[in-house]
Amino acid sequence: MAAERFDLIVIGAGPGGYVAALRAAQLGMRVACVEKDKALGGTCLNVGCIPSKALLDSSELYRQAQVGLAAHGITASGVALDLPAMMARKDKVVRGLTQGVAGLFKKNKVEWVVGTARLEQGRRVIVGERTLEAEHVLIATGSEPAPLGGLPFDGERIVSSTEALALARVPERMLVIGAGAVGLELGSVWSRLGAKVTVVEFLDAIVPTMDRGMGAQLERALEKQGLAFRLETSATRGERTERGVRVTLEAKGQTSVEEADVVLVAIGRRPYVEGLGVREAGIALDERGRVRVNERFETSLPGVYAIGDAIPGPMLAHKAQEEGIAAVELMAGVAGHVNYDAIPSVVYTWPELASVGLSEEDAAHRGREVRVGAFPFMANGRARCLAETEGGVKVLVDANTDRIVGLHILGPRASDLIAEAALAVEFAASAEDVARTVHAHPTLPEAVREAALAVAKRALHI
């Protein structure tokens, strides 16, 4: 059977893959995008970013109705949870967005090929009965939740984020293994909905990859909401019981046992290239199973590229998207580029934690001398109006040049506030630049400006 010819075959329709496909189509390429799931959008849209945010937003409203409205002089009674309705809303959001991607494919004439792809020699891709052939192949297969040795996923009691987004009822006790973004977000969802949540973290801090000081503040905020943390603790074993799971925890040589209805294992994700035949095709992987690429995102097999969670770097949807765009632009002879120093990351707890650039620990590790400016939301007018005064903004600048090298926000809508910081870092702005930029009053971003002023000890409202 003759192979179908394309300019580009994208394998995987997650945020990296579908965006790459769209960009390639814009650049005039004939594009096929292979996806094994029945919906487009990958982990992010189906079982990741989007459904978790839908549940975070819903559950935060539920919490506000219970404990937040009173501060505004609103008395609410009979507030009740309709979990199936909440889940249905989440599914509707997901469906709307994945169908949107399908619409975008149609509009841009990207051919959506359903099935599992297998790489063959000569930039051929086999999908079921079909053989596709292209000038360029882009691996955008993403990642999957990493399992934990003593607690293998069973899809019911010991679950990954995928199942934790669709529990049929609120667990009484939930144990979350891993205090990264996924663990804290889903732990927050179920805690708000009524579960007694304990988060277990192997390292000595929650969100260990982010700025330690900000992480510690977030830990206190979440503890106030009822989450319990057990740091420097590892979960070594889990046994099914009648009611749930009995988990053996080890902390500094001390062993203890925790009972939980549901255990969410959220210790990280690992690249997913299952069935793709990368090794057979001769594509080099690194020691952690990630596809090796050069600065043009090309693998060891000429003409085959890879982006996103399948290659090294932070496993973030927006990182994958930028790489996807850059990769196809480079294929098309356009100067694509990803600035890895200016990729924001967000933990969508409440308050939210968002950051871009270096943490204080990163700076110390790199021997970079920095100065710090900080400003609390307690001193921000808008935050007080919102009755959301937890957290604050921290700016790190190069001690000699005033250039912003890191910016961290813990607070209401930090996820939105970080956009200004990313722009500042991308344009190599100095704290003075941000401080000299007019910010509307009264708004939350004023806290960013005040923190920038604080670098030069010029903060006005504290």
């Binding site: 000699n400 250039r403 344009f427 190599a428 702005a429 100095s430 003075e432 630049d433 000299r436």
Partner: protein, 421 residues
């Protein structure tokens, strides 16, 4: 060198305005009298012409609010040449078409000055993209040409980091490479002290050099018998003090004598503006005052309306401000004629230098008793030499000499001041 374009005094009680538009682009070559910008105040709008030729570096963008005296742009007179395309033919700053004495201070909202008829073919320097606020500040503070600073930012933008690095690089050779080299402008020799020029001192320097370069300065002398003035002053001193609360000095006599003489010889109170002579019905009298920051010349506006007491009071007020360093640009601006009293320092004779765009300046000197011949008798009289420096382009020798004689006549017979004859 960069010439600073500042907002001139905009008239009484107007302290700020808004730049409505720049008539010239940043980086564009300009020449004297080119309209640079349009300024709007709550009283009037005006156009600000260039005083120098060079490359325009805009500091304040259109739409910005600016105060009187504020720096809005620089005109780079040689730094700009480097920025311009290498092959670009540029006018040297000292080209024959010397800067015309454009009044920095229009007495009334200035009418647009006539543009040069045919614009010379000037090549604009490479334009620099929009700059971040911190970069704008650094460039302004260090008087840097952004085109000279290597840019590392996104899309070729200049970052604060770039400017700081550039400043450090440019500072380093001076500190390291020339430890004791005799480079007078850069390194200090043993026993030398560096004190930055104050803006006021810089302004004085610019104006004096401008005067020397543009005007044809000539000085005429005469001598005064001060007996009558001294006698009159002695007689009424106490009463004057009691009545007006201010001492009666010699300055009010000289001011009144000059104002009267200026009315006799109006050209001495006039100035050249472009191709025209501007005559005035008023006298804005500059009075030189020594301060530790240098000689400053505050102006008695409408001195022709002032009594002796008014003049003394106003001089005392301005001199006080001058010594306290509190003079505003308004106080220094708009003079049409100047009196400089070197006599207080004991000077016997001097040739004062013009205060452009004014056309003349009277120099007073010390009063000393000298033998003079009066009615064929040698008598001892308190005498003072007076000097009038004048711009010979406008003022004829005869007019200058006559002016001085008229001053002399009135001071030797001060009753004439009373009768206005």
């Amino acid at each position: 060198m960069a010439f600073e374009v500042r907002i001139p005094t905009l008239g009484e009680s107007v302290t700020e305005g808004v730049i409505v538009r720049w008539a010239k682009q940043d980086g564009e070559a300009v020449k004297p009298d080119d309209i640079l910008l349009e300024l709007e105040t709550d009283k009037a709008s005006m156009e600000l012409p260039a005083e120098r030729a060079g490359v325009l570096r805009i500091v304040k963008a259109a739409g910005e609010k600016v105060a009187v005296g504020e720096l809005v742009a620089r005109i780079e007179e040689d730094g700009g040449a480097r920025a311009a395309a290498p092959a670009a033919p540029r006018q040297a700053p000292a080209a024959p078409e010397a800067p015309k004495p454009v009044p920095p201070v229009p007495a009334a909202p200035a009418a647009p000055l006539a543009r040069a008829e045919a614009e010379a073919e000037l090549v604009a320097a490479r334009a620099v993209g929009p700059l971040s606020p911190a970069v704008r500040r650094l460039l302004a503070e260090h008087d840097l040409d952004p085109t000279l600073v290597p840019a590392s930012g996104k899309g070729g933008r200049l970052t604060k980091e770039d400017v700081l690095a550039y400043l450090e690089r440019s500072a380093r050779p001076v500190r390291i490479d020339v430890p004791a080299a005799p480079q007078p402008s850069a390194a200090l020799a043993e026993g030398e002290e560096r004190v930055p020029l104050s803006p006021i001192r810089r302004r004085i320097a610019e104006r004096l050099v401008q005067a020397q370069q543009t005007a044809a300065i000539l000085t005429t002398f005469n001598e005064l018998d001060m007996s009558a003035v001294i006698a009159l002053r002695a007689e009424h001193k106490e009463r004057f003090q009691k009545q007006h609360g201010i001492g009666l000095g010699f300055m009010s006599f000289f001011a009144r004598a000059c104002i009267a003489a200026l009315r006799d010889i109006p050209v001495v109170n006039a100035e050249i503006r472009g191709d025209d002579i501007i005559y005035r019905k008023f006298v804005h009298l500059g009075v030189a005052v020594g301060t530790e920051r240098g000689l400053v010349v505050p102006v008695l506006h409408h001195a022709e309306r002032m009594s002796f007491a008014d003049i003394e009071r106003e001089i005392a007020r301005l001199a006080g401000l001058a010594r306290d360093g509190k003079l505003k640009l308004d106080d220094l601006a708009g003079g049409t004629f100047t009196i400089s009293n070197g006599g207080v320092y004991g000077s016997l004779l001097s040739t004062p230098i013009l205060n452009p765009p004014q056309s003349a300046i009277l120099g007073m000197h010390k009063i000393e008793k000298r033998p003079v011949v009066l009615a064929d008798q040698i008598v001892i009289r308190p005498m003072m030499y007076v000097a009038l420096s004048y711009d010979h382009r406008l003022v004829d020798g005869e007019q200058a000499v006559t002016f001085l004689v008229r001053v002399k006549e009135r001071l030797e017979d001060p009753e004439r001041l009373l009768l206005d004859v």
